[in-house]
Amino acid sequence: MTRALLKWVDSGLNRIGEISIIRETRSSDHAFRLVHHLDIAGPESTPRGELTPYHSPGDAREIVKFNARGEYRPLKTAPDLRRGWELRLADATALREALDYFYPAMIAAWFHYCEGRVPSVPLRETLGRQTGMYRFAREITDADAQELVANHCDSQKGCLKKILWQLDAETPLSGLPPCKHDPGAAPDGLEDQAIPLLCQEACNLVVGEARRVSKRAAEARKRAGGKE
């Protein structure tokens, strides 16, 4: 997978999520540099001397932990990666490790997608296998599930991933624009330059939210029943 990543970068795929991947010149002491894409180009870019330098793949874990408001980021593909840093990486192995911290499992997902091996799991299947406190998530109605996904997975405020799964085997998701389900439709028209972030199965945050919504609906039904 590291070899494939190197090939992608050398072929011009130099963007993943909110990160720009820069291949350094041979005279540099490091092979790659990662920066927030807004820090490197455009009207709001940051002079390189003002970026805080980091040198180890593990430093990525600190960069991704909090957003600019200091809030914890449990979802690493949320569109609020903070700015103001650059991560210098010695080689392709370090690049792969760092990207696995920035966007966990996303290099692997794209690798398997390119090989034609990316099974997706319908939301109903994910919810159906939950137990313990999450078993209530199974009870969510189709309408509530569609609304939940439309709100929580929205690329502008929720998650940058492209959703490959459906509600169930027959029912597609209905609340998000078609580009949200198209790995070939990159942000900012960067189809030729970006490694897509692919969602093969709803994450724990969606499952947790489904639990909250279905519990709330059950309580509302109970209250309504009590009044009758």
Binding site: G70, P74, P104, A105, Q200, N204
Partner: protein
């Protein structure tokens, strides 16, 4: 003993959608093991963070995988959630899944070497305090829903008690939600010095935010450890006694060796 250098190690943790410090020790132990070059790959996977358990098979390229749960006891997560999410055979230590041979080890918290780590941590947190004037309280979660949560701690405390070199006045197991409750530490512990070591895998919600309130160190839960400028200073003078509160046992760097010990034990069992 040789480790299977062709195989991958996956450390399975809980993670958190609320606490930024929950997964940090799991990553640090993975870093430490990776530096030793014992496995072809070392990766973490989590229940509530990414990469998720479901994603990890796609990340790992090796055909053989050892999975060690970075959990404190046998229970719901180690017996139900992780096997289900990793599609493991519940009746076998080894499962062939998605073309990979997966070996499922015991969780770190039940390994006998944890007792030595607890003693080491107690000595570090209260240096220079005469052991015979000191009570050691190991505090766990405890839950009426699962007796294994308590058993893991009782077993470690029994090991410490039977250690001939252990010279503390007493060592006791205590809990957040079961008797003996850590809230009652002043009645439970007899010595003028009291060392409390949380039996948790990270300084997350319970060990960093909840238990300090139960001990009386804090009036209300503080921000997470990584979001505070000053880490707590020992000892705390309460009720005329010196209270030493340690960070969670799971943050101990030697936990990386416990993870490796669980792999070694499974290999020994299989041979």
């Amino acid at each position: 003993m040789e480790f299977p250098s062709h195989a991958a190690l996956v450390i399975a943790g809980h993670g958190s959608t609320e606490n930024p410090d929950s997964s940090a020790p799991t990553f640090q132990h993975a870093d430490a093991i990776r530096r030793r070059g014992l496995f072809s790959e070392v990766t973490c996977a989590f229940w509530k963070e990414e990469p998720s358990f479901r994603q990890v098979y796609r990340m790992v390229e090796s055909a053989e995988i050892y999975v060690v749960p970075n959990f404190i006891s046998e229970g719901y997560f180690t017996r139900e959630v992780i096997p289900r999410e990793l599609e493991l055979d519940p009746d076998s230590r080894t499962t062939r899944v998605h073309g990979k041979l997966v070996h499922y080890c015991d969780p770190v918290g039940v390994h006998p070497t944890m007792a030595g780590l607890l003693i080491k941590r107690a000595r570090e947190v209260a240096p220079g305090v005469p052991p015979e004037e000191c009570s050691l309280l190991v505090v766990g979660h405890g839950t009426g829903l699962n007796s294994n949560s308590r058993k893991a701690i009782e077993d470690q405390v029994a090991r410490i008690r039977s250690d001939v070199d252990f010279s503390y006045l007493e060592v006791l197991d205590t809990y957040m939600e079961e008797d003996p409750l850590i809230t009652n530490w002043q009645e439970i512990a007899k010595a003028p010095n009291v060392v409390v070591v949380p039996f948790f895998v990270s300084d997350g919600l319970h060990s960093y935010q909840d238990i300090p309130v139960m001990l009386g160190i804090e009036k209300e839960p503080t921000a997470a450890a990584s979001q505070r400028e000053v880490f707590r200073q020992n000892p705390h003078h309460l009720d005329g006694r010196n209270l030493y509160y340690s960070s969670a046992i799971g943050t101990e760097p030697d936990m990386a060796d416990v993870i490796l010990d669980q792999v070694k034990d499974l290999i020994a069992q299989e041979n």
